[in-house]
Each structure stands twice: as C-alpha cells, then as structure tokens.
Symmetry: C2
Subunit: 247 residues, 2 copies
Amino acid sequence: MKVLIVHAHPEPKSFSSAMCATAADALRSGGHELVVSDLYAQHFNPLASAVDFSERRDANYLNYALEQRHANGAGSVAPDIRAEMDKVLACDLLILNFPIYWFSLPAILKGWIDRVFTSGVFYGGKRVYDRGGMRGRRALVAATLGGREHMFGRGAMHGELNGMLKPLLQGTLGYVGFDVLTPFYAYHVPYLDATERTEILVRWRETLAHLDSRQVLSMPSLEHFDDQFRPLTKTELEFQPVGDIDG
Amino acid sequence: MKVLIVHAHPEPKSFSSAMCATAADALRSGGHELVVSDLYAQHFNPLASAVDFSERRDANYLNYALEQRHANGAGSVAPDIRAEMDKVLACDLLILNFPIYWFSLPAILKGWIDRVFTSGVFYGGKRVYDRGGMRGRRALVAATLGGREHMFGRGAMHGELNGMLKPLLQGTLGYVGFDVLTPFYAYHVPYLDATERTEILVRWRETLAHLDSRQVLSMPSLEHFDDQFRPLTKTELEFQPVGDIDG
C-alpha cells in the first residue's frame, strides 16, 4: 500500500509529531511505501492567490477554481502544488495528522487543501462524493486536541466531534471521493502524562495494523440525487446522508 | 456602533469584495464607525508558528496557546497580531466576509483566527461560550459560495450549511462569547447575472439596516455544565446545545 501522511504541527517534539513518527514506523514495518509531507518543515505556502498561476485563463479576474482547472488542462500547475498533487494522486491511503485548532484544521493544512485539491482533477461538475477523483482510495484523520472526550457527543457541550470536523470529513475528503475511515482522536493531550501518551501511541499503532476492519463513514451517494443535486424522490428526501457525522 | 469587517478574498473585483464594499458603505451611511481588515490586501501572515513570540515561556517546546497566554501577560504579542486583536476587542460587531472554500474558511482567514483569537484574552479556562471574552458583542458571517441553496438543509446533499460552518459559528465565534447572528449566505455566485447580484447586494444592505431583529444562533450556556464541562443533570443531558447549527 502507498501511504501519504500530511503532517501539520509547528513543534517537532509535540505529541502530534510523535503520532506522525509512530505511523511512519508502523507503516514502514508493515511493508508499506510511505511519503510524508511535513508542512511546517517544508515551509508550505498556504495562501491561495494569483501567483499560483503562471499563465492565466483570465488575467483580469481571479476565479481560483477556474484557474485551477485551466492550469490542470494546460499543464501549468505551480511546482509546489504539483508536487503535493502527485503525492496524493499516487496514494492508496491519505493520513492527515494534525492538532485541532478552533475545532478544525490549522491554517497551513487548510491552505494545503485549498491549493492542492484542484478543480478538474479531484472534483468537478458531477464528479463529487462517490464519483469524486479519489474514489477507491482511503483517508484517515489523526487529530490531537486539548478537550476531553466527555465534552463531545450528543448532549455534550460541543456536540459530536465528527460533526465539528464535517467540513473536512464529508465536505473535503468524502467530497473528492475518498472512503473516509472513522477518525483517530487523541483527547486532552497537553495534560497527559508519559504513560497515558504511550498508551495512545500503542492504540494508534494497533489502529494502523487493522485498517481493513475500521469503519467507513457514510457519505452521500450521487445515486440519490438528480442532475441538479436535488434529492430524487420523497423516499430519498428522508435519506440522511450525514447521519454518522452530524451531531 | 463600532464595526470591524474582516475580508478575505484574493480578487478585488469579486462579488465577495462587492459585498464588503456594500457593507462598508451601508454602515458608514448608518453613522457607524468602521474598520476593515482586508487580509489579502494587507498580506496577513496566516501561519501560527514560533516566530510569533519574541520571548518564549518555553524556548524548547512550542505550545502555541500557552505562548499566546504568556505573550498577553508579558505584553509581547507580535505587532501584526496585536493590531488585529485591538480591532476585534474594540468592536461591537464583527463581520467576517469571505468566500466558502471547502465548506469552510479560506486559509488566510483561518490563520487570522488561529493567531488573533489568543488564549488568555478571547477565552481561557472557564471563560468560554457565554463567559467568553467577547460576550456582549455580536458577530455576523457573510459568505459567498458556488453551491445552490437546495444542496443544503435536512435531507439535502450536504446537510445544513450552518452545520458545515459549525466550527466557525459555534466552535469559534460562539466559543469566545459573541452573540452569533444568523449568517448571510450568497449562493451560486459565479453563475449569477448582474441583476441577480444586485438583488443580493440590496438584500445585504437591508440585512445590515435591521441587525437588531436578526435571529441569534443558540449556543451552549455554561450554566448547563459542571466544572469539568459535563452536562449537569439528566434533564440537561437532553439539552441540545447546537440545535440551530447541526444538520
């Protein structure tokens, strides 16, 4: 299996970085082919802007998605974006490894998605969800957070954590076609002692050894929607495409 | 009223930029005091990193939130962050005006939140939600998107749009104490003709003229949780803190 880990923590000694190193070791030991994009270490530019396009479809008006599509067609994608795209397109499994900032991604990882998941390759027109460009591949989120597990879930203070990460789990990874595995969360990380941290890393290594039995999150299927993405029938109006993620 | 608009679109001729200009004009005409942070124009750095701290609490291990708290106490917050913090702390109404990228914020605006909503001032310990640092102030999201309105809602392809933006609406703006007004969404923007765009701008101007009657989203209240943020009683376990946002 070809695996790409995208890692996004500014501190190399952080627990998130330890999770990245543990995953790299576990996957290499398991005989898998591994590539790591360490976004802080490689000074990845997270800013979607006009400088991403050396030749413009429309030099007077920047529509970022249309310029992405044009650049893909013209073979003029910026080298730093192209390099990351090629890594993603080559992988069987994408692991996003990051600390949760404000119940979502650190900006450097959000910018990686904004710039790398280009229109025309990862998605476009009707090529979304189970027709997205990455269909047949798997994605796994591995996230650390300061909050405790009891702060999340139905009736809990913040609601479901999968619901907070819905823009990533469904709106991004599911949207471009990945089979999105149930995320691996490490709670309360800044307050754990060494023993507790080791226990999580053991559980993380176990998780990586048994990915085939890990549950895939349910996503909308285009079969249930018409050409305008309207639900097809009254019965399908009852269909709850995001039951596993909301809450 | 003091209003801060934070605007995050790379194209000055975009519809999102027109919404920003319309809001600026409407609010100034209404006698309000206005400040605009145009993040692309001011080349705002979205990257939370060690260089944000001129003197470190712990030079060997970067815990970003703890360094934020230390910098606030020591008065050593980086000048570009301090300038934005001061704008937010002075405002009665914060408007975030942006195009939706991947069902969430453009990275430059996510990084503005990561760096500006500092621990120790905006939140910290039990100072969250209705005890957050920005309680008593209001926040309004004004977002453009390519998707059509029928793609969102219960049973629709992507679920509720407020649910997709929950990390921002509840997990960020609500979390730091803002009264979060019902967002203003401009759907299908790249495909609208000039008349339709004008109609949206008229509706946007109307919205800004009647903010006092705009619904505030429901948020968790600390009254319903104990010191560990556990729901207080069985009755309150049924409490759905995010009923307006999930879906």
